[in-house]
């Protein structure tokens, strides 16, 4: 269908080699990114299917669609799949893998074989998890709280724990690769103060992956040892402390939220600058805010435990520290908004997602203030308020950023344009569906509906019906992009090298890039987002 005559002959990473071996044994970061894209999309739809079943079950107050045990497994596996097999790898392993070397002018990541290993670890973990899912599943909640997980649950806790342990190593290896690559492989002239904010946020993300993930790994190992060999580390019968498990678990799992949201913030920084055609407002502050979030994010974990029985004094400490981490997040929102000031704003699909991200992240962040306030947290923790809050951050934030980034870099990844009109429709559908699904849950939560409830008192039904209705809209919004992305790979308009007239090294090579990214290692002499010196696109390069 493509009308341009030149493209078929050009050699790039997609057509350089063919055959299954050339994919499964590739060390090309771009191909590995696509392998990850396929795998996480697969898990996203499993997790999403579970989410739909959960929402359908909650359509009525009675538990009438599935059994209680099934429901418990559904929300457990929805959480674990979405967090460990979709959100955490989503942007870093797909867009990050694809773009980090391109953006810093490198031929590949520092350790290409380690990168492939990380994907195989993901696949092994995913296979193990699927096996667990198909042979009975797990019902501990994604949090594996002891002593339920170690002594009371009679589902496949060990298998699920090991799968997440393994996928954790995949994430560690990705983070390790990014840090080394960003330190050692930057193109000449690309100083730290010239790095795109996408790189800064991935650097911050990698810090969390490196220093947080091993703590989750050891915690899960201890749970598995306790369950399998009766080692009594958290066992209250022996005088062990179940809260110790929670401390260790949240030491990783709170920062893990930043693993999900920081890369999205990086994507949004790229998109907002590009479609405002401006240098980002306060570059240094936005970059440093990423690092601050990564560091302070490690100091706040026990705000998940305010009613769990921790000491009053430490609750105060953790509440205070939680407010500190809100400051850099606020800085980012203000800076993105200010970036549009006196810009030349264009509402493309990626920009819609980015603006949607800012809105939803703002709401998610503001409701975080409620949860960090000790007095209110006591009432709303473990209710649908928390469920709504973290979905605003993780779906409204992270997934919006992911979809925005997929649209923005799709021309670079596939060499084709996605259909812009459908893209806008999908973006609006996702935004509307999302709010319809999750906003009622804030009210439900404050009204007191606890989370993880298979059946609930009838007075909560109206809001649950809204939520379920929203979920179906949301589902349409997610299926749509997958359909037209696939469609565009064959029928989409052929993309130019730089369809958005964007800054950034990734746009200075061909679309799709050659296997080693650049014909010649670029030399950087300009600042990031140097839109003053980039000609504005005279027309929207969409359509054939």
């Amino acid at each position: 269908m493509a009308t341009t005559a030149v493209t078929p002959e050009r050699e790039h990473y997609l057509n350089q080699q063919y055959g299954i071996r050339s994919w499964l044994l590739t060390t090309d970061h771009k191909r590995i990114a696509l392998l990850y894209l396929i795998s996480i999309t697969f898990f996203f739809f499993i997790g999403g299917f579970f989410a739909l079943l959960i929402r359908l079950e909650l359509l009525t107050p009675m538990g009438d669609l599935v059994q209680a045990d099934t429901y418990n497994k559904l929300f457990t596996m929805h959480g674990q799949i979405m967090i460990f097999f979709f959100l955490i790898p989503s942007i870093p392993a797909v867009l990050g893998n694809f773009l980090v070397p391109l953006m810093i002018g490198a031929k590949d990541l520092a350790f290409p074989r380690v990168n492939l290993l990380s994907w195989y670890l993901y696949i092994i973990a995913g296979g193990l998890y699927l096996h667990c899912l198909l042979t009975g599943g797990v019902d501990t909640g994604w949090t594996f709280y002891t002593p339920f997980s170690t002594a009371f649950s009679n589902t496949k806790v060990i298998e699920a724990g090991l799968a997440i342990f393994i996928v954790g190593f995949s994430s560690i290896l990705t983070g390790l690769n990014f840090v080394v690559t960003i330190h050692r492989m930057r193109a000449p002239g690309l100083t730290w103060s010239r790095l795109p904010l996408f790189i800064w946020s991935h650097y911050a993300t990698s810090i969390i992956m490196l220093l947080g993930t091993p703590v989750l790994a050891i915690t899960l190992v201890l749970v598995v040892l306790e369950r399998a060999f009766h080692l009594g580390i958290f066992d209250p019968k022996l005088g062990g402390d179940p809260l110790l498990f929670q401390h260790l678990f949240w030491f990783y799992s709170h920062p893990a939220v930043y693993i999900m949201i920081l890369p999205s913030m990086g994507v949004v920084s790229e998109i907002v600058t590009c479609f405002s055609r401006k240098r980002v407002f306060g570059y240094a502050f936005v970059a440093m805010a990423s690092i601050m979030i990564a560091v302070i994010g490690f100091l706040v974990w026990a705000h998940h435990m305010f009613v769990a029985g921790i000491s009053l004094y430490s609750a105060l400490v953790f509440s205070f520290l939680s407010y500190l981490v809100a400051v850099p997040s606020a800085i980012k929102v203000f800076n993105w908004t200010a970036t549009m000031y006196k810009g030349s704003v264009r509402f493309t699909t990626p920009m819609l997602y980015a603006l949607g991200f800012i809105g939803l992240f703002t709401m998610g962040g503001l409701t975080g203030l409620f949860l960090a306030a000790l007095g209110i947290d006591v009432h709303v923790t473990d209710t649908y308020f928390v469920v709504a809050h973290f979905h605003y951050i993780m779906v409204g934030g992270a997934v919006m950023g992911y979809l925005g980034g997929m649209h923005y870099w799709w021309p670079k990844i596939s060499g084709r344009m996605y259909p812009e009109f459908l893209g806008k429709i999908a973006a609006v559908t996702v935004f509307v569906g999302f709010n319809l699904t999750f906003f009622p849950q804030f009210i439900l939560g404050y009204l007191g509906m606890p989370r993880r409830y298979w059946q609930y008192p009838p007075e909560f039904q109206v809001l649950n019906v809204f939520s379920t209705a929203g979920a179906t809209v949301l589902a349409v919004g997610y299926v749509l992009p997958m359909v037209y992305f696939l469609w565009s790979m064959r029928y989409g308009a052929v993309a130019t090298d730089n369809p958005w007239a964007a800054s950034g090294l990734e746009w200075k090579t061909t679309s799709p890039p050659p296997t080693f990214n650049f014909d010649e290692t670029p030399e950087v002499t300009w600042e990031a987002y140097d839109y003053a010196n980039i000609p504005a696109p005279e027309e929207v390069p969409v359509g054939r």
Partner: protein, 233 residues
Amino acid sequence: MADSTVGVESHDPALRHHFATREQQREASSLGMWLFLGTEIMFFGGMFCAYLIYRYWYYNEFAAGSRSISIKWGTINTIVLICSSLTVALSVRAAQMGKRKLVLLLLSLTMLFGVAFLGIKGIEWYEKFQEHHVPGQSFDASDIVREYPQIHINQQHEQIYFSLYFAMTGLHALHMIIGLGIFLYLTFHTWKGTYTPEYYTPLEIGGLYWHFVDIVWIYLYPLLYLIDRKPLG
């Protein structure tokens, strides 16, 4: 490497295509290993955190548990590991100087020390099994209770000490086994002559890993074996 556009600038077999210089490649490998060791610190750190809290809570049981495990084997194992670290350091030095035979000798010695460490660990664990000091249904620390009537020992809390003992030494031993695997690989490549005074990075970063495992033991030794050995009275 099937690359069409780049890779012509160097025919250096040890230089991977995506690095510009050997120096860059070596620095990347070294940084990568150090970062990995950083994650390892946090991996063991989770257990150290549990250890710290329970030791703070159940000091007497930890002290008594520590007395009951063999300081002889613990000290010998410490010495064995320190010796292995020396041979590792010397093997890297020998590689720097291109003395292949010496490298082979030192690597073999290192693995010998490693196997000795694991063997001694096995003896220790076997003793625990015989004494019913392995956590679980058959755990029985009444011998420890009887031995130290001065300090009132809670057997359940004692079990927490032994749980941590097995978790910590067990995961350390697992790291030793992985280390032995790495050194087997390094020995093979040294034997094949892969490493030269210009290129011995794998040897160097493999060595870093081994030293790290040694350092973990340097902390485990006083924390598990030497909590309190002073005469009771």
